[in-house]
């Protein structure tokens, strides 16, 4: 199928909605899919682990 033909065909039709283009972009979804859990779960969790204070001294 000639690419030109397809191009012409698509120009005549209405544009694809932006959201649909976003959902079709698997690599962009991949980026968010990796970034969100890594930041929200892992990195945030590690930050909390290193910030834990030492056990203070108690007199029972």
């Amino acid at each position: 199928m000639a690419d030109e033909e397809r191009k012409i065909e698509e120009q005549e039709e209405e544009p694809i909605p932006a959201w649909q283009l976003f959902y079709d972009n698997i690599m962009l979804l991949f980026f968010f899919g990796v970034a969100v859990p890594t930041l929200v779960y892992t990195v945030w969790g590690l930050m909390e682990i290193v910030q834990i204070p030492d056990l203070p001294s108690y007199s029972p």
Partner: protein
């Protein structure tokens, strides 16, 4: 079809039943989510979050030993029973396969119960009321509790800790 490429533009409005279900489901989900932070302000039954790093196990063992020495009131099966001052800091130590010591608490008094593991990961399950917490080595977890019911309670380990795991049972009295 889920098995064929959809038509060129599939971004289309919802039907009535789809919209209704999306609205109802979203509303219920936001409710159950909002419950969690809001309950920290209006409710009392929240997981404790106070925690300290224990650099040296002996530091915690020393605290346990000092408490046992000062407040020991008896002994069961070789494990001391301790009646600490009401409202004080209390230390409970888990190890393979023992909860040490046995605590005797007073009803209606608030305690800061420090739990800590000497060796590997354990799980603290207070039965029969079924309150469960993790006990980790190197971390002191401070549970601020006010026993509201008196009686004899057991502490069962509910995280696998080796072959004697099922024998790791401790005791807790509320008087």
């Amino acid at each position: 079809m889920a098995i064929k490429e959809p038509e060129r533009i599939w971004w289309k409005p919802y039907t009535w039943d789809e919209k209704f279900w999306v609205a109802v489901a979203l509303l219920w989900m936001l409710t159950t989510f909002t419950f969690m932070p809001v309950y920290h302000f209006i409710g009392k039954q929240n997981p404790p979050f106070e925690t300290y790093r224990v650099r040296n196990p002996e530091q915690f063992t020393a605290l346990v030993d000092a408490m046992v020495e000062k407040y020991k009131v008896g002994e069961e099966e070789g494990i001391p029973v301790v009646h600490p001052e009401p409202g004080s800091d209390v230390f409970l130590q888990a190890s393979m396969w023992q909860w040490y010591p046995i605590l005797q608490l007073e009803k209606g008094k608030t305690y800061r119960i420090h739990v800590y593991s000497l060796d590997i990961v354990h799980g603290m399950s207070i039965l029969p009321i079924n309150m469960n917490f993790m006990v980790l080595p190197d971390y002191d977890y401070v549970l601020t509790l006010t026993p509201t019911t008196s009686g004899e309670y057991h502490i069962v380990c509910n995280e696998y800790c080796g072959l004697g795991h099922h024998m790791m049972v401790g005791k807790l009295y509320v008087k």
